[in-house]
Symmetry: C2
Subunit: 227 residues, 2 copies
């Protein structure tokens, strides 16, 4: 199987684009802790629910147990974040073509950064290129060194390249703002760039780069086209 | 002079802890773009306002010009983020003992990361240890290699150490969860740690570490004690 896996975790609810979630309804869903409850509330029954459920009320947990086919309860003070539990579930039970994670942004910065850095770590690293983070204002994709074609997400006017680690050779040849073989030992967020057309390219030689497409909150319309 | 400088920028308004802002009212304030308008709306007249003001209406800009002693208007598509403009103002006109930046978190991840990484870059780097980011849920301090005493911010139950760059020797000797000379070539957010008591210690040999104190949104009470 090459399934499209979606993971709902328990980040700030206001940041979750439920219109987009609905578009992915027919794919496979996993719910972590409060994320499982949120899926049920939106008419999606996840195949698995997992977590320590310390963010869920006893009533919410009971509802999850009654509705979800498989529920794994972890001890509290576990060694994994909710996002990591979700990815571990996806790795264990599926051969995912993509892992899209919803509800993983906003709120506590330490948690947001832990989620952003998780795809770089073992054992998640082998899925790095398949992991996508989505919220109402942002989509995040992760890249190992190489040359890539990237596609504009409709409704997202801004494009950013973030070297999460030291990088060498970062080249942006055909975006609004270009770079030519840029090396940096420090992390940098090259923010507020833009697509020229709907397909652009970039490449780099070493390190890990996140590509973020984003919009301001006052942008109009629902956004479509998250892969 | 060794002034305490506060910079208000134009990030998501819901994340700005105005009760805390009020406690810093007697210190020096700078407003960038919409941040200047926000300060005026909360009864604080900044010493300087700056920016391209593309996030402000003509009426807001006119009000800023009428009320603020010094206003620097930058061209749009400038080379600086709003946070960087604020720090440049602080560096140019003051010898700051501390630079506390408000309104710099949330919303677009590319902007949040650009703000988080700015203190690591030249020419801001020399102020790295003096820069503090504050929002309703988080305080962020930045550290060069060394040994440090850290102080608990009341109302913030969570403590995190984030190696924003490769680090060596990260040691957490007396927190709830400890580390002993941990080396990592990848960025890691060691999230959800906690103070034991109100003073703890940490040290590291190379790299840059951010210390984040945070709380969940459902935590009770206003939070006090931001330095």
């Amino acid at each position: 199987m090459n399934e499209k896996i979606n993971i709902m975790v328990g980040g700030p609810e206001a940041l979750i684009p439920y219109d987009q979630v609905a578009d992915h309804r027919s794919e496979t869903w996993l719910g972590v802790d409060l994320g499982a409850t949120r899926l049920l509330e939106h008419g999606i029954v996840p195949e698995y629910a997992a977590g320590d459920f310390d963010s869920s009320t006893p009533e919410q947990l009971a509802r999850v147990k009654a509705a979800v086919p498989k529920v794994d309860i972890y001890p509290p003070e576990k060694d994994y974040t909710d996002t990591q539990i979700g990815i571990l579930l996806a790795m264990k039970y599926y051969q995912p073509a993509s892992i899209t994670i919803w509800g993983t942004t906003g709120g506590r910065l330490d948690q947001l950064l832990a989620n952003l850095y998780t795809p770089l770590m073992e054992p998640y690293r082998k899925y790095l290129a398949k992991i996508h983070l989505v919220d109402r204002q942002n989509t995040v994709d992760f890249y190992e060194p190489g040359s890539y074609e990237i596609y504009k997400v409709p409704e997202m006017p801004y494009l950013a390249f973030v070297n999460l680690t030291p990088v060498t050779g970062l080249t942006l040849p055909d975006e609004k703002y270009n770079l030519d073989h840029f090396d940096s030992s420090l992390p940098i967020s090259w923010s507020s760039n833009e697509f020229v057309g709907t397909i652009n390219h970039f490449s780099f030689d070493t390190g890990i780069v996140a590509v973020i497409q984003s919009r301001d909150v006052h942008s109009q319309g629902s956004f479509k086209g998250v892969k």
